[in-house]
Symmetry: C2
Subunit: 171 residues, 2 copies
């Protein structure tokens, strides 16, 4: 099954973490590949690295639009590394029940990875594993091949009244 | 901060679980109070019960609209038990950084708990703890006092094409 968490609201990443916990609780094997998430920053990382049956990879930890002085070439190379990892997984027998691709919608939107190539790999991988892809602005071609798509829609957000990102809530 | 995950889409509960993992990862203390969730059924329960700094309570494990032959009186009594727990927490000094109230929107919608009383308790509790309330059909009065509201909106769902709830995905 191909699942997409998209939209401008909160909950795309936290829902994918919750889904990882749900899979692990059943004894399933999970692979998490994160893009654009700095290490030792997000609280969940401290718990996830300790859990059994979860392989956790991180590429392109900074995004040039969000972190000043981030090199575009390094970002693209990181994303290509993530794609290589995915390709490897698509070429071996089933290893994971769930593969979570964090913020890949952003990498697609910003053209750091090739959309048609990504879609082909996801289609192949989905024959053996469930796939979750997160990030706002999921492209239409990806939504088209997905089985379950949720838009996390912002109804009210404290950013709007000037409250900054809070430890535990946003990271 | 008062946070609400509502809407007809997937991700309300999984996002709250992800948020719990994020808080715990920072060493914060968390209380989870679940309504209408059967024991030993949801995968996440097997992981959550093992984590440090998390107190986990479950009330009214069955909902009369979803599980046949469920007694209304038992459901209401369970919900009242959950309310008593909340009242106790509101009357003691800060114990938790985050309190998650799973499916309380449903209990409000179905009038198993009193809306004005619940809102008063949540307001008091939010002076010392972050609160997440989940479930579809969040009432307007609750949205009004919330700081962060996300609607999980169904764009595409495999139920619609006849695929049944799947282990790991829905439970």
């Amino acid at each position: 099954m191909i699942i997409i968490n998209t939209g401008n609201g909160k909950g795309k990443t936290t829902a994918s973490i919750g889904q990882i916990i749900r899979f692990l609780g059943h004894g399933f094997k999970v692979c998490l590949i994160q893009l654009f998430k700095e290490e030792y920053f997000y609280g969940e990382q401290n718990i996830l690295i300790k859990l059994n049956n979860l392989d956790f990879f991180s590429f392109s930890m900074k995004h040039p639009y969000f972190t000043k002085n981030t090199n575009f070439t390094e970002t693209v190379n990181g994303c290509l590394g993530a794609m290589k990892k995915l390709e490897q997984l698509s070429n071996i027998p089933k290893k994971y029940d769930l593969i979570v691709l964090e913020e890949f919608n952003i990498a697609l939107r910003d053209r750091f990875i090739c959309e048609s190539k990504f879609i082909n790999i996801v289609k192949q991988l989905s024959q053996k594993s469930n796939i979750i892809i997160t990030g706002r602005d999921a492209p239409d071609m990806l939504i088209d091949i997905a089985d379950l798509v949720t838009e996390m829609k912002e109804i009210k957000h404290p950013y709007k009244i000037g409250i900054k990102a809070t430890k535990g809530i946003e990271f």
